[in-house]
Structure formats: structure tokens, C-alpha cells
Symmetry: C2
Subunit: 122 residues, 2 copies
């Protein structure tokens, strides 16, 4: 029996699909939001501008299935569902937040690089 | 004049587009590959299984324009182009690699979570 270590560069490696959930457009923003506190669905939709109801529901479901997000239906009227991170999701979100924070801090550098790139080609 | 800090949760914030380049399906894998060494186009295509020529070219071009990747056309025959990381790209890639390594190390945990999720729903 050959044991192959997970490798995101291989087609069909399960790590690649997990990576795509964690780094998906909305997956990133959901993980980072939930690192601060738990959210209700409608709150998350307001917090993450531009996400559709359908995409947010799909994203939350795949993160829940992967074990990153915990979904708690509260026994209240009107019904209320809270989303929070599991310990595994907290680890994922911590890595992801280091990227979003870095990106937010480097906007001017990237914009300058783009100007140079575009100028060199006109 | 109002100065607004970059926020990946805002529609139209330039940080969101940069984040999408850095965390795109192929952007992640290109950045992590180039953290080890420079690659030629054809080498990268072999290293990152499943990427099409077109998607790899688009990914490299957007990472180059953002200032993360340096493209060096070598004055040799036959023509040869080497891709490597800039200092800014090395920073991005270091953050990104912490995610890919974490994901590769957590495959069994995620697979167990999925089994539990699926079993609870059958």
C-alpha cells in the first residue's frame, strides 16, 4: 500500500478542494468575520458587501460540512440561527486573516506596481 | 476629504480585487511554487496539475501587474522566460503557504467532519 501525503498541486487530492473552500471569494470573508464573533445569517450578509443570499448559504454550508463552521438553530420565536467557528475553523480563519490584513496594508504598493506595469506598455 | 482604510468587506475596495488575485485557485499555487525557486512557464504548468495554458498565463499576468511576480525574458535561443517572486510577492506567498501547509496537514480532520455531517443527514 502506498501512502501519499496530501499535495495541493495534485489533481484529485482532497487537500485541493479544502483549499478552495478556505480561499474561495466568500469563504475567506466569512471565516475572517466569524473570527471576531458569531453572526446571524442576515448580519453576515450585511457585513460582507455584495454576497448574494444563495452564495452565502452555499459558502456557510460547505464550511460547516468541512468542520470549520458551527450552525446553531436557537429555539426562539422568531427562529434564529447563529454561525460561529469551530476550533478547526478558528485555526483556518487565523491563517486567512493574516492574508486579508496583509493585503489591506499593501494596497498602495500594488496600485503603484500596476501604474508602472501599465505605463511600460503604453 | 475622507480617507477610508482599505476593507476587504467593501464592494469596490481595491483590496478586495488584490485579495482575489492572491487567493484565486491558481494564484495560490503559483505563489507557493515560486517561493521555492524561479520557474519557466512550461515547468510551472507541469508542477501545478490541471491548470490550462490560458489560465496559467492569465494568473501570471495579473500577479505580475500587481507587482508580485517578476517576468524575465532570457536573451537565449530558443527563447526562455523565467518567473520569480518580487519582495512583495515573497511576502504574499509566505502568508499563502501557511494556509496550503495547514490545509495539507488537516485533511483527515476535514474528512471526518464531512462523514459526521453526511451521516447526521441520512
Amino acid at each position: 500500500m502506498t501512502v501519499v501525503s496530501p499535495d495541493v498541486n495534485r489533481v484529485g487530492c482532497p487537500s485541493r478542494v479544502i483549499l478552495e473552500h478556505v480561499t474561495s471569494r466568500w469563504g475567506v470573508l466569512v471565516l475572517v468575520a466569524l473570527l471576531d464573533r458569531s453572526y446571524r445569517f442576515s448580519e453576515l450578509r450585511r457585513h460582507i458587501e455584495g454576497v448574494s443570499e444563495k452564495m452565502l448559504a452555499q459558502t456557510l454550508q460547505s464550511l460547516e460540512r468541512d468542520g470549520f463552521v458551527h450552525r446553531a438553530a436557537q429555539p426562539v420565536i422568531p427562529p434564529r440561527v447563529d454561525y460561529s467557528l469551530t476550533p478547526l475553523g478558528t485555526e483556518a480563519a487565523t491563517h486567512v486573516r493574516s492574508i486579508t490584513e496583509w493585503v489591506e496594508s499593501k494596497v498602495p504598493e500594488v496600485q503603484n506596481a500596476r501604474l508602472e506595469y501599465d505605463e511600460a506598455r503604453t
